[in-house]
Homo-oligomer: 214 residues x 2
DNA sequence: CCATAAAGTGAATCCGGATTCATTTCTTGA
DNA sequence: TCAAGAAATGAATCCGGATTCACTTTATGG
């Protein structure tokens, strides 16, 4: 035999893959998934169009990968934010706040992840990840219920409702903020701070026991 | 001059248009918007493909029309349901209940209207109609706030959150129910009655004053 | 330096359904 | 019945970006 992948080649390959993902994410952050064309990603990654298919079997798999990486990052950030604090009520509040804050930080990406129309395969992925989001809140709820801070109820359903409320209330401000916000030029939408608190208040009321202070 | 549209011709034209809309809606109720092709609608309406363009300038305009008619009908049903009753709390409850009930009655259509991935133009329409939904709830909230039954708060934002919570909690059961439900063979998803009440309970907690009984 | 296998290339092809348009058929008022 | 305008027809065209593939280049081990 005369050829076998060596660690050097392997890492090179991994690098290229990472580069593809990064460039793809940039494009999505700029113009959403509809701004993502194989040819463009290839160009920006300095490889040929066809080569992309050595790394991702199809465009939609690339989209899915981009989506997953980006969403995972968000989930981790929100989770981390909640873990920095004690007490179920405060934790939930922190999580919600972090979610909104980050969305407003990069409205284009947030919009793409939450609401942009995409083809079915990607939409299915989105659906799965909504379930993951619900899972995040579900855990927080569970703890709070155990300690009597939250109303006893099917946490999963409740968490889903929270996800819905958060996503919906954020979409419109997001759309407003979405136009002309370069990826690394954070702009807080004027409405946000007030809105943010109102949204959170809504969520907390739906969930916290009357006694449970905030 | 030798030709001018006569009332007969006009009504014939209106009929054809209505038939197109109806057949299109049927298709959407069966397979969502992605199951809607101009050729198929034409076939079922017993006219030629090209003729469709006499009635709708493009496919997406047809989609938008279908969406609008269907959604408007839903909005009216929900509004009507709330108006049959007295008292803000009961009214809101009735509206939410009606929303869910109808969604489960025709899961395919509901899914298409609420969550199916569609192209941007239609998605924009959906966005506008979400605002209309929010408007429906907003009015109910306003009345309730005036009478002290609901917590004082920006109704619009709150209504938006309600819309989000409702849509999100309904999507998954919807997807389960979606497969193999002929348009006129109502099936209540097993989970619904319990779920429905839980969802409503969530919404009410977020909105009703501690004193406001249910 | 060679043979082999993998990776890279990018122009050509594919694709499926929307849209068009030259032609035919129908309506109307005279 | 006729002329002229409207409506209907449906096969042919269009479209834009994903995907392919015959060929070139690069990496590996002997």
């Amino acid at each position: 035999m005369a050829y076998r992948a060596t660690e050097f080649t392997e890492s090179r390959k991994a690098q290229t893959r990472a580069r593809l993902l990064k460039e793809a994410r940039k494009l999505v952050s700029r113009e959403g998934f509809r701004g993502l064309s194989i040819a463009e990603v290839a160009r920006r990654s300095a490889i040929a169009t066809g080569t992309v298919y050595r790394y991702f079997p199809s465009k939609s798999e690339l989209c899915v990968a981009v989506f997953e990486v980006a969403t995972q990052r968000e989930i981790e950030a929100v989770t981390a934010a909640s873990e920095q604090i004690e007490g179920p009520v405060q934790q939930l509040r922190a999580a919600l706040e972090c979610f909104i804050q980050r969305a407003m930080q990069n409205p284009n990406l947030a919009y793409a992840l939450i609401a942009e129309p995409v083809d079915p395969e990607l939409e299915q992925t989105r659906l799965n990840y909504r379930a993951q989001w619900a899972e995040v809140f579900s855990r927080l709820l569970q703890q709070g219920i155990r300690r009597g801070a939250f109303i006893a109820q099917p946490e999963r359903l409740c968490a889903t409702a929270l996800v819905g409320a958060m996503a919906e209330t954020v979409i419109i401000p997001l759309q407003q903020a979405r136009h002309g916000t370069p990826e690394n030029n954070p702009v807080i939408h004027p409405l946000t701070q007030a809105h943010c608190q109102q949204i959170i208040a809504f969520c907390m009321r739906a969930v916290v026991t009357p006694e449970g202070n905030s």
